[in-house]
């Protein structure tokens, strides 16, 4: 079993990182008559615990249905919420419904959700999970108790990693855990996964060992390098093929764009950084409005090439 899962806290009591939040939730569970919305900065381990702590729940991911998610919300969720289960004691008779990726729900689905939330609150509790509350409409947000779970700090991550290391009887070189924590970008799950990857790759650890990058991140890095090296229609065409490769392998286009921007910014002249960021945001926005991500990725790269080439020519002639 992977360490991520092995060392996952099984109850609220055992939560190590967000103990404050966990405390509050524990109290809340006792009352248990609210609709919660859990909002995580970066999804981390702790989030799921919360759900697990409730014994009877149904979890679903309505945004999988794409642009027809509205019907899932309207039909399935409503259907489930409507039916009030009968408890033997006649008390506490309600269900818990956990909806993942609420921020990816379409606007229509969110609108249909808000009525369901209110109307059937007697028989059904909803737990909504999302990565960013900005994409959840005001109407839904105001009906929820917002619980924000911050990403763990690097120190906390290091703590967790050292805890795991101790349990697994590993010798950690100095600074090793910190390096992984930095690399994970404050994502605890990723940190643990990196940690294990390092273990698989090589043990005992060397002092300057770095976790191998994720496969898709590596590929995006290559794309970034390609773009920086040459700006031409030919290269644009090659980049398009690589984008297709990533998309076919189920990498979400938003992640691609984000990673690509990060990679480009590393090498970019500081004069251009602001402009490029602006365009990246512009195209990410369009990407969410549209449906064919590749068009927008390509448009971003074309824009970048055009700006960068102009810059190069004007600077170096």
């Amino acid at each position: 079993m992977l360490w991520v899962d092995k060392y996952r806290p099984k109850t609220l009591d055992k939560v190590t990182v967000h103990d404050q939040v966990a405390q509050n939730l524990r109290k809340l569970v006792k009352m248990e008559n609210k609709t919660w919305k859990i909002d995580t900065g970066t999804r981390t381990l702790e989030l799921e615990l919360v759900m697990l702590s409730s014994a009877h729940h149904v979890e679903m991911n309505p945004s999988d249905a794409g642009f027809q998610d509205r019907y899932v919300v309207q039909e399935v969720i409503k259907e489930m919420a409507k039916n009030r289960p009968i408890d033997a004691k006649g008390k506490r008779a309600f269900k818990v419904l956990v909806l993942n990726e609420v921020d990816k729900l379409s606007r229509e689905a969110q609108h249909s959700l808000r009525r369901t939330m209110e109307k059937y609150s007697a028989s059904c509790r909803l737990i909504l999970c999302c990565n960013s509350s900005s994409k959840v409409t005001e109407a839904v947000r105001s009906r929820c108790l917002n619980v924000r779970v911050n990403a763990p700090s690097e120190d906390q991550i290091v703590q967790v990693l050292e805890f795991i290391g101790k349990k697994e009887n590993l010798v950690l070189p100095a600074g090793f855990a910190a390096r992984i924590a930095t690399q994970s970008n404050r994502n605890l799950r990723r940190a643990i996964l990196f940690f294990e990857t390092c273990k698989v790759q090589q043990y005992p650890f060397t002092s300057n060992q770095v976790a191998p990058p994720l496969d898709w991140e590596q590929y995006v890095c290559e794309i970034a390098a390609d773009i920086m090296k040459e700006q031409s229609p030919k290269r644009l065409y090659a980049v398009r093929q690589k984008f297709y490769e990533l998309l076919v392998n189920c990498i979400p286009p938003q992640s691609i764009l984000k990673k690509l921007l990060a990679e480009l910014l590393k090498k970019l002249d500081s004069d251009l950084k602001h402009e490029i960021c602006h365009w990246a945001a512009h195209y990410e926005h369009k990407m969410r409005l549209g449906s064919k991500a590749i068009f927008h990725l390509e448009a971003f790269v074309a824009k970048f090439m055009s700006i960068y080439k102009e810059f190069l020519v004007s600077t170096f002639g």
């Binding site: 039909e75 289960p85 990726e101 996964l193 990533l246 392998n249 990498i251 979400p252």
Partner: protein
């Protein structure tokens, strides 16, 4: 998708068409000089004409009044055939046509028919003849025209016979004169020399005009070759090549000169060839101008060319040849002068003639509408009993004709002039012939052989029991079917879309009184009995199923039933459709002999239209008719309708009339998205009008943008100008890409929210803006790529993506079902997958076999990963240009893993619903294919067994599971059925999320879940869980 296939086919056709002409080109040039001796002359380049002539000869043969000339020509033809081996095919065709004639002749029915025809026309013709003889004025005019060039040929004169013989082109019209019914009249109508001169060149004209289209691309040679071939093949491929190679310069003084007005028909009989850039006219404008005044424009120089129109001597092929042949050069100004000069002269002549001939009067004013009105008034006056005032005979006769028309006016022209005999059908003669042969041999082939027993399995081409005629509307498919069957004395029973053609009632005994299909069944199965009694008297029947591609919703099971009918049929069945590649007809096609009708050429059509116009007393210019034919894109029915409509308001139809009238109401042309993109991005893409661009991009609003998106990078915009660094081009690219991205957003609005009013905006930003920015020359970006537009890659990638997402979701649900991890799909892909892959493959690469296998299987069991999930994980981690994650894993290890996994399956805890086999739900077919593709495992027999074991693994493991689960197995099935009433989309979701959630439920929840099982998302899943 079927449409796409169609376009590919078309493209192939085009290629084939392009390939052939190349061979043709090798042939020697046309005869250099008019040689007077009769038999020797035919050069291969004239072959198409021969083909034409053979076709026409059929017609002439058809009537007893076959001229001597005809036979001469035929002999000549056969001689030629012997001389030139290349013309074998033509000879064959000719032979065929001879056969056809033989077939036709003895049939009394048609003969009678023809006689009727003649009787019918007799009165009219005699009347029409009179004007023919009279107009000396016309002759005069012709002569006056002829002064310059001496081109006038009076076909009526036998003296000219020789002359005609030596020039193959000219022999053709001589045949035309011999052409049966229309013979005397046709010539008469055309009357005097000037008109005749034109007729004489008609076929030749055919070739050259087509070339003229082609001539837009400089690859003239290829164009010519194609033109030659196309004589037989219709103009399907047309001049729309994939690329425009270059661009002609703009005329230096474009639009600066005043275009003169001249007398009508002042250029009649003259043949022009335009070369190079003119001073002020665009090439098209010049062509228009010449045609308006009755001249002809051809694409290449022959000795019949009167002038080479050129303002600068570019020294190209044309001018060289012109010098060689002694064709005079003419500048644009010269042309203007010529037209201008004709004006007053014509006017006086017209005046002179106006006294004697009102017909002449009708001809002289061309454009000025007041005059026209006057003329019409004039006519009306004459109509209203003022004939007495006019001593003119012609006038009287015309009026008589008009009266005649009014008598028969109730009939639509399309019906009235529907061909009565096969030879009247314009174009597609070879198809007609095939159909004829097929119908004729049908009886022997099927009825008699069936009696013998297994004769049905004859392998020759005629063995199909039905025939499918396909082609665009209005080119005479139905007519062909009817006429041919009539000719063979078969009784045609037509069933078309107006009849209900659903599946026949299985009980035919219910009677003929029921649906049509029942009666069809009745018909085809009983036909034998009918003429079994008295074979001689009963007419045999043929069933014509018209518009079979229209068999749709209302006619449920129609096509299937039709096929069944074909199988048992005892009479021939002729099916007719427009689109042979329609999805609906896919099954039918296998049972039919396919005859693909093509659009007739504009020359063929023009000729026929002229005849009809003559019969209706409508004066029409030859090139006006051809223009009409071109405008309707080969649809004769539409052309006739237009013509009839025009005849209501005017009695003279001129080139300009057609242009004006049809400018607004041109028939929509069916162009493929590739062609549309070619046009938009072509070198001349910037010159298109906005509405043209919209039309092009709207020709397929789904595919055109995709093809554009795929290819816009390849174009080097010609608006950029000098651009050493490529910055400008990159800028343009960015703009275009941005615009395409915008279009995506608009498309979402259109599709998701049904905002169809935005479709113009979508087409603007998806196609027009990128095209406007990027149009230019296409260049290749990858070595070895063909320089043609690729098909949009998005569709394929999109479907692969979706497939992979589905697979990933399966894996995801398995992992969730294991209750070991809790994550969403995205996290699984982005974060987990790398490590999962390492855990799964690294041991296989590094550790000893048994240990590794055990470890991996254990790991898979922990997360309840199946063999497919393993494959999914490997598949999703493959990146082009990166090493395959499975590299370095020995095949032996791989098969050992499979074996181990399979062994474990009996004791494995099944956590996810889809790991259970539900009979008939999941077929591990793809696995089997994968196993077959594995080369290493086929080499050794031992491993072969393993491979097959791998292939069967799912089956067997599933079987085991089934045994294990036998008692509970039926329940999930029931649940699945009960869930079905929900929408499809919802159900899908039920499947995935339901499994997930239920799998995660604590055991305590189980009883509850089953309580609500009927409705709750995945109650079924919970029960399936063990």
């Amino acid at each position: 998708m079927s449409d796409i296939r169609k376009w590919f086919m078309k493209a192939q056709d085009k290629n084939a068409g392009a390939a052939k002409p190349a061979d043709r080109n090798a042939g020697p040039a046309p005869p250099k000089k008019p040689v007077l001796s009769i038999p020797e002359k035919p050069a291969p380049s004239l072959a198409p004409c021969d083909q034409d002539s053979s076709a026409r000869r059929k017609s002439s043969k058809y009537f007893a009044s076959k001229t001597e000339k005809d036979s001469n020509v035929k002999e000549e033809d056969t001689n030629a055939g012997k001389n030139t081996g290349t013309r074998l095919s033509k000879r064959k065709l000719q032979k065929n046509s001879d056969e056809l004639e033989d077939d036709i002749k003895p049939l009394p029915a048609t003969k009678v028919h023809k006689e009727e025809e003649e009787d019918d026309d007799f009165v009219a013709r005699s009347k029409k003849r009179t004007p023919v003889k009279t107009p000396p004025s016309k002759k005069l005019k012709g002569a006056s025209n002829a002064e310059g060039h001496g081109k006038t040929i009076d076909l009526g004169d036998d003296d000219d016979g020789e002359d005609k013989m030596d020039e193959d082109d000219k022999t053709l019209p001589s045949k035309a004169t011999g052409r049966g019914r229309g013979r005397g009249r046709g010539r008469g109508g055309r009357g005097a020399g000037a008109a005749n001169g034109k007729t004489s060149g008609l076929d030749d004209d055919g070739e050259e005009d087509r070339m003229d289209e082609d001539a837009k691309t400089p690859s003239k040679a290829a164009g010519r070759g194609r033109g030659g071939i196309a004589g037989g093949r219709g103009r399907g491929g047309g001049g729309r090549g994939f690329m425009n190679f270059g661009e002609r310069k703009d005329p230096p003084h474009k639009g600066e000169k005043e275009v003169p007005e001249g007398g009508p028909d002042c250029l009649t009989g003259l043949t022009f060839v335009i070369s190079g850039t003119l001073d002020s006219l665009e090439r098209e404008e010049a062509t228009d101008l010449i045609k308006r005044y009755g001249g002809r424009v051809t694409g290449s120089i022959s000795k019949k060319t009167s002038y080479l129109l050129a303002d600068e001597d570019v020294g190209g092929v044309k001018s060289n040849k012109a010098k060689e042949l002694g064709v005079p050069f003419l500048t644009e100004d010269g042309l203007f002068d010529m037209i201008r000069k004709s004006k007053p002269a014509k006017a006086t002549v017209a005046k002179l003639q106006s006294n004697s001939s009102s017909e002449k009067q009708q001809k002289s004013p061309i454009k000025s509408s007041p005059v026209k009105v006057g003329r019409r008034d004039d006519n009306q006056v004459t109509m209203s009993k003022n004939i007495a005032l006019k001593s003119n005979k012609e006038n009287a006769s015309i009026n008589n004709q008009k009266a005649n028309i009014v008598d028969r006016g109730s009939l639509q022209w399309t019906e009235k002039y529907r061909p009565k005999v096969p030879n009247d059908i314009v174009g597609n003669q070879s198809m007609v012939k095939q159909l004829h042969d097929w119908l004729k041999s049908w009886d022997e082939q099927f009825l008699h052989s069936v009696q013998k027993g297994k004769g049905k399995k004859q392998a020759d081409g005629g063995a199909k029991k039905a025939v499918l005629l396909s082609g665009p509307p209005g080119i005479g498919k139905t007519t062909t079917a009817k006429v041919v069957s009539q000719m063979l004395g078969l009784l045609a029973i037509e069933v078309n879309a107006s009849d209900s053609r659903g599946k026949a009632d299985s009980k035919i005994e219910k009677g003929v009184g029921g649906s049509t299909s029942n009666s069809i069944k009745e018909l085809i199965s009983n036909a034998t009995l009918n003429y079994g009694d008295n074979r001689s008297k009963r007419p045999k029947a043929v069933l014509i199923m018209d518009e079979v591609d229209g068999m749709s919703a209302g006619d449920r099971g129609g096509v299937a039933d039709l096929i069944a009918s074909i199988k048992i049929s005892k009479i021939p069945i002729v099916c007719i459709c427009n689109d042979r590649y329609s999805q609906k007809l896919k099954s039918l096609v296998n049972y039919c002999l396919l005859l693909n009708f093509r659009k007739p050429t504009k020359q063929q059509m023009g000729k026929r239209l002229m005849e009809i116009a003559k019969k209706e007393g409508l004066q029409a210019q030859e090139n006006a008719m051809e223009e009409l034919a071109e405008r309707v894109h080969g649809d004769i029915r539409m052309a006739l309708n237009h013509l009839q409509y025009m005849s209501l308001s005017q009695s003279v139809v001129k080139y300009d009339d057609i242009r004006q009238r049809l400018n607004s109401s041109t028939k929509d042309e069916d162009i493929s998205p590739f062609t549309a993109v070619d046009k938009l991005f072509g070198f001349n893409g910037g010159r298109l009008r906005m509405d043209e661009r919209i039309d092009l991009s709207m020709s397929d609003p789904d595919l055109v943008p995709l093809i554009i998106q795929e290819n816009y990078i390849n174009y080097r915009p010609n608006t950029v100008g000098k651009d050493d660094s490529g910055v400008k081009r990159m800028n343009f690219l960015a703009h275009a890409a941005e615009s395409i991205a915008d279009a995506d957003i608009v498309n979402v609005q259109i599709r998701r929210y049904r905002q169809w009013q935005l479709s113009q905006a979508a087409c603007l930003s998806s196609s027009i803006i990128p095209a406007a920015l990027m149009h230019g020359n296409r260049e290749i970006l990858e070595a070895g790529e063909r320089n043609f537009n690729r098909f949009g890659g998005w569709l394929g990638k999109y479907s692969t993506t979706n497939k992979n997402i589905r697979l990933l979701e399966d894996t995801h649900s398995h992992i969730l079902a294991s209750q070991q991890a809790n994550l969403d799909r995205e996290t699984l892909r982005l974060d987990y997958l790398t490590l999962l892959l390492r855990q799964l493959t690294d041991p296989l690469k590094t550790m000893p076999k048994d240990e590794a296998v055990q470890k991996v299987v254990e790991f898979m069991d922990t997360y309840s990963l199946s063999q497919e999930d393993f494959d999914t994980i490997v598949e999703l981690s493959k990146f082009k240009g990166h090493p395959n994650p499975m590299d370095g894993v020995q095949p032996a290890v791989k098969s050992a893993l499979t074996k181990a996994y399979k062994q474990g399956s009996s004791s494995r805890v099944i956590r996810a619903a889809d790991l259970i086999n539900i009979p008939g739900m999941k077929k591990p077919l793809k696995k089997r294919v994968a196993a077959m593709l594995e080369p290493a495992e086929e080499s050794l027999p031992e491993e072969n067994g393993v491979a097959s074991a791998e292939g069967d693994e799912d089956d067997s493991s599933d079987a085991e599971n089934k045994d294990e689960l036998a008692p509970g197995d039926t329940k999930p099935k029931l649940d699945l059925q009960s869930d079905k009433k929900k929408g499809i989309q919802v159900q899908l979701d039920l499947k995935s999320s339901g499994n997930v959630s239920n799998a995660k439920k604590a055991p305590a929840a189980r009883s509850r879940a089953s309580a609500t099982a009927g409705k709750a998302a995945g109650g079924s899943g919970a029960k399936r869980k063990r």
